[in-house]
């Protein structure tokens, strides 16, 4: 306690009374309000009635009386007038004094500081939660990415197996009694091109090339199925020595509405070595090219075996026309898919069938392969990267 002369302590009291708008209430041991003095209106406590329960008129007193501890302080209590007071409680055995001291200015100052502090804290807490959510999402993405990688690796492995199967069903090149060779470069791991050749009987040699629209698993499955059908001659009622019959039966067996909306172009020919006759029919397929003359000669002449017929799978009642020509040695027959010559050059132009014919009719240098030259021409025209379409070409050299 300050040991001050009475005049100074009185002066201090007056100062506090003036600055803090002091008011006080007195409550007796029956918890009735018996006295209210000071700046009561300042706190919205004017007009109090004496003699009744204090808590009925002054809600802040509810439950606090009798006082459990003294002195007791409630800081910064907002009063009915909107002013803010520190509420001091003092008690002796019979009386409770409640002193109100205005702290509105300090309250406003504290509120501003606290507001800024809480705003910052809430923001940083929110930021921390967002970062945690981002990290969790990132971990989930990483996990999903890892699973996707594994799944893609499995898929790639399965695609490689499928590609191996597609290649496995292709016939090996042959050299007797005439040479048959080929180049097969799918644009993706699985393409829509397939081909085959086999002896129908001792005198008839069948050769065929299939190009299913599109690429990928669906096209590959269909082209392998069509190839197997032709290879195993599994078209009831069709005579595999007659190309038009074969294509008509094939068209009936593979309608696009029952095969994933996929259709295909097919060229089917039957060569009879004894007579040199080649009978053929086409289902929307590019015309094969016959090059007559020795391979190394500058006298070679290239001509296309033009024919017409609808694609396999589009028209249920399609009919096919058969054509025929003579192949006399020395000559080469080239059967190919459109991916062999419909190649976009870097300048935006497209290679044409005439370009392929020109390439094939040029004399070969020593040790050169006609098929490799065609593939090189395609790759040169295309530029770097995989070809846009499947590249398939089959050669019969007589």
């Amino acid at each position: 306690m300050l040991d001050l002369p009475a005049r100074i302590s009185d002066s201090l009291l007056l100062l506090i009374e003036a600055q803090r708008a002091v008011a006080h209430l007195v409550i007796d041991d029956a918890q009735n309000l018996v006295q209210a003095v000071g700046h009561l209106a300042h706190y919205g406590l004017d007009g109090l009635a004496f003699g009744g329960p204090a808590a009925d008129q002054i809600p802040l007193l509810e439950g606090l009386l009798p006082l459990a501890e003294t002195p007791f302080l409630i800081r910064s209590m907002e009063m009915p007038s909107g002013r803010v007071a520190d509420v001091h409680f003092f008690a002796d055995e019979r009386t409770v004094w409640v002193l109100l001291l205005d702290v509105t200015a300090e309250y406003e100052e504290a509120r501003l500081v606290q507001q800024k502090s809480y705003d910052m804290t809430l923001l940083s807490q929110r930021e921390a939660r967002l970062i945690a959510q981002l990290e969790a999402a990132n971990q989930e993405l990483t996990r999903a990415h890892r699973e996707l990688d594994a799944s893609q690796a499995r898929l790639r492995s399965e695609m490689r197996d499928a590609e191996r199967y597609v290649r496995a069903v292709l016939p090996a090149p042959m050299s007797q009694p005439f040479v048959v060779d080929w180049r097969f470069v799918p644009s993706t791991e699985l393409g829509g091109d397939s081909f085959g050749y086999h002896w129908v009987d001792d005198e008839h040699f069948a050769i065929y090339l299939i190009d299913v629209c599109g690429h990928g698993v669906g096209s590959a499955l269909l082209t392998v199925a069509v190839g197997n059908t032709l290879r195993s001659e599994a078209l009831p009622g069709a005579d595999f020595r007659h190309p038009a019959q074969v294509l008509a039966a094939l068209n009936e067996a593979y309608p696009m509405e029952r095969h994933g909306e996929l259709f295909s172009t097919v060229w089917y020919g039957v060569y009879q070595p004894r007579s040199g006759s080649l009978r053929y029919a086409t289902a929307g397929h590019p015309s094969p090219i016959v090059v007559s003359g020795p391979a190394g000669s500058s006298e070679c002449e290239a001509r296309a075996l033009d024919a017409k017929g609808p694609c396999i799978g589009i028209t249920p009642t399609a009919r096919y026309q058969e054509a025929q020509c003579e192949l006399r040695s020395p000559a080469r027959l080239f059967v190919f898919s459109d991916g062999t010559y419909e190649i976009g050059r870097s300048d935006g132009s497209m290679m044409q069938l005439a370009d392929l014919m020109a390439t094939l009719s040029q004399p070969l240098g020593p040790g050169q392969s006609e098929l490799d030259r065609v593939l090189d021409a395609a790759r040169t025209a295309h530029g770097p990267g995989a070809l846009e379409d499947d590249f398939t070409i089959v050669k019969i050299a007589l």
Binding site: A55, D56, P59, L60, E62, G63, L64, L65, A68, E69, F72, I74, R75, S76, M77, E78, V84, Y107, A110, R111, Q114, Q115, S117, Y118, D119, T121, L122, Q125, R129
Partner: protein, 164 residues
Amino acid sequence: MLQKKICLLGAFGVGKTSLVRRYVDTIFSDTYLTTVGVKIDKKIATVGSEQMALIIWDIAGEDAVAAVRVSYLRGAAGYLLVADGTRPETLETAASIQSRITAEIGATPFIALLNKADLVEDWAIADDRVQQLEGEGWRFCRTSAKTGNGVEESFAELAALLSR
């Protein structure tokens, strides 16, 4: 008329003042205004056929620096313990306050409010933690001072609890 003092307690920013404003004045503001000290409101609640005057003490929230003054609860018949459903740490603050009240004042009726229930996408309080506290005897209500959902019901439930 029966008159009861109740308190709202919890961490800062959980929406105690907004709950009181919604209950007493049926208004809500999105602007966050921090509470310093204590603000007292009064509202008449109906419990069955009886009326009860609730003297509602809205007490400044607890933060890292300042703990809730448990002595302010003296004479309170019960309290609402408020947590922010989007801030799990506020439920732990509520648990801490509750244990201090029990230690210093003794068992006092209370209801725990998981406020801001309208912020469904940001909801972060784990169900298993809530179930654990329910196992300890806590009674939970989901509230939204913004929409008013659960607010009237929570105060009414506490009033009913105090009238028994």
